[in-house]
């Protein structure tokens, strides 16, 4: 499986969750698969998906899934220490690890070589770290959300991309639509 196939497989699991989606192809693919107000698409700023997700999870009670990549986490590796030391049980960090910088031409990352993000996360103090195969991602993610405890999932998959257009939605509209959805849920709305 490649990343877009993992995303397709987890749509039923994340469709009603607050989702922070990583810059580049992951956001473009999710936008094509299942655009919803509960999705926040990063249009720039490599590396901060997990930080935005943690901030959102700490700020309100709704369950948050941050969809990261291995290359992006390597850009902001210290995020795993911040996440570990400020555990928020409504937060699941899903790192789709294809061992490459997919959005820039599939250059290899160190996560595809000697570096284990699962071991880094564990060493940073994250208590629930699960490395799974691509095909197991949806089930693992569902279990993590059902368990009501902060979980870091590293889903190993193959490198490769599909052809998807860029997101042309205005960034302020993305944010305001997302914030309205968060506020609605937390006020007991639909």
């Amino acid at each position: 499986m490649i990343r877009s196939e993992i995303l397709k497989s987890i749509v039923p699991v994340i469709t009603d969750r607050l989702v922070i989606c990583n810059i580049g192809l992951p956001s473009q693919e999710l936008f094509q698969l299942d655009d919803r107000p509960s999705n926040f698409y990063m249009l720039g700023t490599m590396g901060l998906c997990s930080s935005i997700g943690l901030g959102l999870a700490l700020a309100q009670p709704g369950k948050v899934v941050a969809i990261e990549g291995d290359g992006s986490v390597l850009t902001n590796l210290a995020t795993l220490a911040t996440i570990a030391n400020n555990a928020s049980d409504n937060f699941v960090l899903l790192i789709i690890d294809n061992g490459s910088y997919g959005s820039t031409g599939d250059q290899p990352t160190y996560a595809g070589m000697r570096t284990s993000l699962a071991k880094v996360a564990t060493a940073c103090g994250c208590e629930h770290v699960i490395e799974c195969e691509a095909e197991e991602t949806a089930g693992t993610l569902q279990d993590a959300l059902d368990a009501n405890r902060m979980t870091i999932i590293i889903a190993k998959c193959q490198s490769g991309n599909i052809d998807v257009p860029v997101i042309e939605m205005n960034p302020v509209l993305i944010r305001e639509r997302f914030m309205a959805e968060v506020a609605s849920r937390n006020s007991g709305g639909t």
């Binding site: 700023t45 997990s50 935005i52 901030g55 210290a78 911040t82 302020v172 944010r175 506020a183």
Partner: protein, 167 residues
């Protein structure tokens, strides 16, 4: 006493409903960071690096909190991309309480190097910038925080050695 000044600053933050603060330490900001940590109305999440901190603030803002980041002016060099592509692009209000190192009174020569570029970078980024040099400049803080929320921009509050020494 600088603790009085720190208490005044944190009081202004809380009075403006700021309830989520991330910090990256600076010696000059030690008192204000301690006051933030000890205030019950503020969730304090220390960051390892300032761009990470801005990510936390963006997420907290979208979750309904009012964020603030406390950092050193060296961070302006670290966060240019994040300020432009996240905070400004998505129009997220973010007051930045900044220790302005490298001004008169500085003991570390290297700090002067970044001080030389601080205001030029902020100007290039079109970030509203306020320089606190005298003790009484703290009177501006309440208005600056309200201004930040009104215009939904990052704002820079540069606090130099003179400001802290006068306290």
């Amino acid at each position: 006493m600088s603790s009085d000044l720190s208490g005044r600053i944190v009081g202004d933050l809380v009075n403006n409903d700021i309830d989520f603060v991330t910090t990256v330490p600076c010696k000059q900001l030690a008192g204000v960071i301690e006051a933030i940590e000890n205030h019950d109305a503020i969730l304090h999440i220390p960051s390892n690096k300032e761009d990470e901190g801005m990510g936390l603030c963006a997420g907290a803002y979208m979750g309904g909190k009012r964020p603030c980041i406390v950092m050193q002016n060296t961070a302006i060099g670290v966060t240019v991309n994040t300020l432009v592509t996240l905070i400004q692009f998505y129009q997220i209000p973010l007051p930045m309480l900044i220790s302005y190192r490298g001004e008169v009174g500085e003991k570390v020569a290297c700090q002067v190097e970044m001080a030389l570029h601080t205001k030029a970078l902020l100007d290039q980024l079109s970030i509203p910038t306020f320089h606190f040099h005298h003790r009484d400049d703290v009177e501006e803080l309440d208005g600056i925080l309200k201004h930040t929320w009104m215009c939904r921009k990052p704002t820079a509050i540069l606090t130099d050695a003179g400001f802290w020494r006068a306290a």
